[in-house]
């Protein structure tokens, strides 16, 4: 996702003939453009994502939710971290779309 944001920054800088390094406002605008892809989260997914957030990295979906969990991983709504112990968090841009406070409510092993 960082490359998508970088690409957006390059496009905005090029289109405006803006100087480099890019100003913070352009970077923020680029993040906002990429965030569009994380908007329009269904109510069903919003509930699941909120549960992931409340689980503080520990996700144990029921059998009928495994497909939903896999899809949310596939679309990067949920990020999987594999640093010794697997743990999960909501993508920061999905957090923004859901109106959750910034920063995960999890404490990973390396934190």
């Amino acid at each position: 996702m960082i490359f998508a944001i970088l690409q957006e920054v390059i496009m905005l800088v090029h289109a405006r003939g803006a100087p480099l390094p890019a100003e913070a406002a352009i970077v923020e605008e680029a993040i906002g453009n990429v965030a569009l892809g994380f908007s329009s989260i269904t109510a069903e997914d919003a509930v699941f994502l909120s549960q992931v957030d409340e689980g503080q990295g520990d996700v144990r979906p029921s059998a009928d939710r495994v497909g939903q969990f896999a899809r949310l991983l596939h679309t990067h709504m949920i990020l999987a971290h594999l640093n010794h112990e697997n743990w999960y968090e909501i993508h920061p841009l999905a957090r923004r779309a859901l109106g959750l406070p910034e920063g995960p409510a999890v404490s990973g092993e390396d934190e």
């Binding site: 496009m11 289109a15 329009s40 899809r71």
Partner: protein, 245 residues
Amino acid sequence: MTRTDAPPTVEAAWERLWAQLKLSEGFWLGYHFTSDVGAVRELQERSRRVLRGEARGVEARQVNNPNDLLEALPWLLRSRSAATGVVWLVGVSGDFRGWISAWGGLLRRLNERRDTLPVALPCGLVLVAPRPVLPVARDTAADLWSLRSFLAEVRMGTAQHTQPFREPPVARSGEDHGDGAFAARALSPSAEPSATLRPLLRQVGVDLTAGRPDLAIERARDALDRAGTTMTRRWPMRGSRAVVR
């Protein structure tokens, strides 16, 4: 949506689409979410004007009935030449509810053929759908979605309240007004010389820098002749003469 809560406008979308057209080579995929058919036409016309300067064209297909959207699949996958700059598929008119399942079906098929797309389309592909299709595009055709390099939306009625986007001026040196500055401007990306002209223009710069103005002028004339010949071949004589002069 940006944090400034600025409404997504035609100008904002065009600013990024323009950069996409200018910076991208080969296949790229864009999603454009709007129900404003007028805004889409405006963007198509602007992309047509920009690409005309590169002797490239725009192919567009507008589907008016959701039941007909899937029929666009063979058209989309048809092999294009490098003369095509961008392909638009538009399916937005009328009630958006009918489009959600129609786009879902087409995007799933495209998702299955995502490896074919870059081979068939050596250019951009912009899919234009109503805003409610966004989660469908993301969730039901996730692999295709991951290929996107352009994502924009335009809300209805935001076109008339915005500052028009202007292409950035050619970067110029404020200090050096000599031959070096001229050569730098000639070689700047915004001048966009063709692959044929680029080495000639580069040599013009080398000759100028090396103090060989006569040779530089000769090479510049050669480049101008070639540019004129190319434009005469591609466009009507009247237009090409105006450009060369």
